[in-house]
């Protein structure tokens, strides 16, 4: 029997949005799916050799709970309501939030993005980088991990057209 196919377009380049494509791809691969991810625009950041630049921003992100990963339970349960205007003018606020987020991720037993990406590669999830974005943002192939194929919209449809599930994220 032909394996089921999952096609994903990954367009976001932040730490939080790095999770959905890698979690779903690695899991689908474990379930026997053939998986391909097309990384375009900011999504290309997820293919960088060095992933330490991925950040999460609470600024203009009202859905994000702002909780501390340390201290007694009553303290960790507080949802810090910091106004956008304050977040915007405090230097390093984004780096601080990213640091706290990474601490929370490790504490809750959630895999890191480098680990999840490696699990996808181990499971033979195929990564396609959008060549147009590489040109547009002035990237070089050397900045990205090996084993990526570069292509355009037609390359995506070649696989997506035969997929059972197709997701844009």
């Amino acid at each position: 029997m032909e394996p089921k196919k999952l096609a994903i377009i990954a367009t976001k380049g932040t730490l939080d949005w790095a999770y959905p494509p890698f979690i779903l791809s690695s899991t689908a691969a474990a379930l026997g799916y053939e998986v391909q991810i097309f990384f375009t625009f900011y999504g290309l950041n997820l293919l960088k050799r060095d992933l330490s630049g991925l950040k999460v921003s609470p600024l203009g992100n009202p859905g994000m709970p702002m909780k501390m990963p340390f201290g007694p339970k009553w303290f960790r349960d507080i949802n810090w309501n910091i106004p956008n205007a304050v977040q915007a003018v405090v230097p390093g606020f984004e780096s601080l939030a990213t640091g706290l987020m990474k601490q929370t991720i490790a504490q809750k037993g959630v895999a890191s993005i480098p680990d999840l990406r490696q699990l996808c590669l181990d499971a033979e999830v195929k990564f396609i980088g959008c060549q147009m974005t590489v040109d547009l943002f002035g990237f070089e192939h050397g900045e990205f991990i090996d084993n990526i194929e570069y292509g355009g919209a037609a390359t995506f449809f070649e696989f997506a057209g035969e997929s059972d599930i197709c997701l844009y994220m």
Partner: protein, 75 residues
């Protein structure tokens, strides 16, 4: 219950328990039984779904004081 291999997935969150289960099963023979320990409450539903989609048989699923124990027989 008798088992051939044990997997400790305690402290790991979605999707790691499933990915580790898949990896452990890949190293086993057909008919052998894998015991999985986990603390992720989501793993209860996920292990059922994994078994259903991969054809491996979930022999039992139990919870005791915040820990989950699964026995899965390889297809």
């Amino acid at each position: 219950m008798n088992f051939d291999k044990e997997l400790d997935a305690r402290g790991l969150n979605c999707p790691l328990p499933i990915l580790r289960t898949k990896k452990a099963l890949a190293e086993m023979q057909s008919g052998q039984v894998l015991k999985v320990m986990a603390t992720d409450p989501g793993s209860v539903k996920d292990m059922q779904a994994f078994a259903k989609q991969t054809g491996n048989e979930l022999l039992s699923s139990a919870e005791a004081s915040g820990e989950y124990q699964f026995f899965m027989k390889k297809k």
